[in-house]
């Protein structure tokens, strides 16, 4: 059985609140954003003066002026995960990374992170953008335990504000930057046991969410929203049916796309607010980093015996879930 031994997060200090977006004069208001997606602010690696001046019309410029790179955020998160796991970077025998905003297209982001951490082990990217937490856990769960190293490090990082067109009122309000990392072992017990993993995709709908390498992010917002709510509810129902989930004490974490959508899911499954963990209201949508970053930020609050259901959806279109128990 896999265990998660430690988790880490990293977010840039730069912040964009709703009044900032309203002041961009792109046809939206603080109230509209709050009502529609429930996000209050988001973290960014972009200088706010740069956004005001350029609206990030040319993402190359955003890439140049950013305060931190994907790799730098990822390395900070990874160091915290490694420290919390009580191991050394040199103990890591495998590093897998998910990022839709790589620093270079070659080598892979995982290889850059490994180099920065001094990890001279197998490192590569395993990518499906938003559902990274489920993908990575299902990917590792698929291995015969003996074929995994003592410790694997998973990383998901994204700086999507660098790919946002700040003349687009919808995209401007959604995205935040962040990284999450977690140490997994099949050989050493950790704080969280992995009870169940699941990952699935429908590539026929993959054009619904696109990050152009040479351009901006764009998506079919309505289609993705409907898919996200419906699919997350299905994922949670499956876990409820197979495991003895008790929402009076167990925890739900969804894809950190928007708070309103998460509210629809928790209402549907009768999950009380106190057992619903999220960070999208303060950080924005961090793509594949959102759900694990939320879990990592509650790392010290996890209670013995508590189950944590993580259900994530997004680009690909792909979706998946992980059920953990402390």
């Amino acid at each position: 059985m896999l265990s998660i031994l430690g988790m880490g997060i990293s977010h840039p200090e730069g912040e964009i609140d709703n009044s900032f977006i309203e002041n961009l004069d792109i046809g939206t208001t603080e109230q509209w954003i709050l009502d529609k997606i429930g996000i209050e602010k988001r973290r960014t690696t972009l200088p706010v003066e740069y956004i005001i001046k350029t609206r990030n019309a040319d993402p190359r410029e955003g890439h140049k002026v950013a305060s931190q790179t994907t790799t730098e955020l990822a390395v900070t998160a990874a160091k915290q995960a490694i420290e919390r796991a009580g191991i050394l970077a040199s103990d890591v025998g495998l590093l897998i990374c998910n990022s839709c905003t790589p620093e270079q297209v070659a080598p892979s982001e995982g290889q850059r992170i490994a180099a920065a951490l001094g990890i001279e082990a197998k490192a590569y990217d395993v990518i499906s953008a938003c559902p990274a937490f489920a993908l990575h856990m299902d990917y590792l769960q698929s291995f015969e335990p003996d074929d995994l190293p003592e410790y694997a490090l998973c990383v998901s990082a994204a700086v999507l504000t660098q790919n946002v067109n700040y003349n687009d009122r919808s995209d401007s309000a959604i995205w935040g930057d962040g990284a999450a990392a977690w140490v997994v072992s099949a050989k050493h017990p950790g704080k969280l046991k992995v009870l169940d993993t699941h990952f699935m995709a429908d590539p026929t709908r993959c054009d619904a969410v696109v990050v152009d390498t040479f351009g901006h992010f764009h998506q079919d917002g309505r289609a993705v929203r409907d898919f996200s709510v419906r699919q997350t509810v299905r994922l949670v129902k499956r876990l409820e049916q197979q495991y003895d989930l008790d929402w009076s004490k167990d925890i739900f974490i969804g894809h950190q796309a928007n708070r309103t959508m998460l509210g629809q899911i928790t209402n549907n499954r009768n999950i009380p607010d106190e057992n619903h963990w999220y960070n999208v209201t303060e950080i924005g949508n961090q793509a594949g980093a959102g759900a694990p970053a939320t879990l990592a930020s509650h790392w010290d609050e996890i209670k013995p015996g508590q189950k944590i259901a993580v259900a994530v959806v997004g680009a690909g279109l792909s979706w998946g879930s992980v059920l953990l128990q402390a």
Binding site: I127, F199, T213
Partner: protein, 333 residues
């Protein structure tokens, strides 16, 4: 998966078929191609770029390249996938999983495997497992290390690269004459196939990764000294580790090293029968092993043979990452 000693216990998987696709355009048909900056014959370089675009821009800004493309990584990957599926005698609906890889994506999201899945109209798990140069070895190594119940009957392993879209032709440096565009695809069978995979090992050296790079918005940069300093000794070591699994009459296929380095590798490994398609394709990065095997099979067919002239084939790979890989195949049918 992580120790070569595990290879003796690796679970059986099979290579059912391979396929490849290359763009029609050739860099040699562009009258503005710089004069060779290498001391050996320049390979035939297939390019995804339109020749008109090259004439007008010399590809001076890769950020502007999209309108200048006659092919994309995905269009190549789709053609290669359909070729591999046809050779395997199966339909796309029989696939259960797609592993993708690519180092020149036009979109970072969705990933290559998902774009191929859309082209094939399949609703199955699809995600990228991206090592750089040793994609096929990593994909096969991964599947052989997975629990049997997690391995579908058929998996598509895709690696597609249009590195000429990232070459600095205005600078005319050495790397302008080394690379070609292609997709290489393998259909991996769980229970049967044309070849049994006797060994699949990928090794990655992250601390050396910055010696072979493609910037997000910029050019491919290749420090050719890594061939001698890293790829040759590491491939030599991998083959040495696999030696007990390799018969004396195996054919070694390697199509990513430049001719001088390829010769040095042959000398270092001594003896065995070799084949390289580098002069006909250039370095096609992770597409090279599937492409080379498919071309070897095509040659055999042209000679009226049902299969290649060897019971075993050893695929050698090296590239971005830095990564190296070896795949040992035994003919089954």
């Amino acid at each position: 998966m992580f120790l070569v000693s595990n290879m003796s216990t690796m679970k059986p998987i099979y290579l059912s078929a391979v396929g490849y696709a290359q763009p029609e355009n050739l860099l040699s048909d562009w009258d503005g191609m710089p004069k060779p900056a290498v001391s050996f014959p320049v390979p035939t370089q297939h390019t995804a770029l339109k020749l008109d675009y090259l004439r007008e821009t010399k590809n001076s800004d890769p950020f502007q390249v999209v309108p200048g493309l006659a092919e994309t990584p995905t269009s190549l990957a789709e053609r290669a996938s359909r070729a591999a599926l046809a050779r395997a005698g199966i339909s796309a609906e029989e696939l259960g999983l797609i592993f993708g890889a690519g180092s020149t994506p036009l979109e970072t999201t969705p990933v290559e495997s998902q774009r191929v899945g859309k082209a094939l109209q399949v609703k199955i798990p699809a995600f990228d497992v991206n090592a750089g140069g040793a994609d096929l070895a990593l994909h096969l190594e991964t599947l052989s290390a997975w629990k049997s119940e997690k391995v579908p009957q058929y998996t598509l392993s895709v690696s597609s690269h249009i590195s000429t879209s990232r070459l600095p032709f205005e600078e005319g440096t050495e790397c302008c004459f080394l690379f070609g565009d292609a997709a290489g695809v393998a259909v991996v069978g769980k229970e049967r196939g044309r070849y049994r995979v006797d060994a699949a090992v990928a090794r990655i050296f992250p601390s050396l990764a910055q010696r072979f790079t493609i910037d997000l918005y910029g050019f491919l940069r290749f420090d050719s000294s890594i061939e001698e300093e890293v790829f040759i000794p590491q491939l030599q070591k991998l083959v040495s580790d696999c030696r007990t699994l390799i018969s004396g009459d195996a054919i070694y296929l390697e199509s990513q090293l430049t001719p001088p380095s390829h010769l040095k590798l042959r000398e270092a490994l001594k003896g065995p029968s070799w084949r390289s398609f580098w002069s006909e394709t250039g370095n096609t990065l992770g597409a090279a092993p599937a492409l080379s095997l498919a071309r070897l099979e095509e040659e055999a067919q042209l000679q009226g043979k049902d299969s290649v002239d060897a019971e075993q084939i050893v695929l050698l790979q090296c590239g971005v990452g830095l990564s190296v890989g070896v795949v040992v195949l035994s003919r089954e049918e």
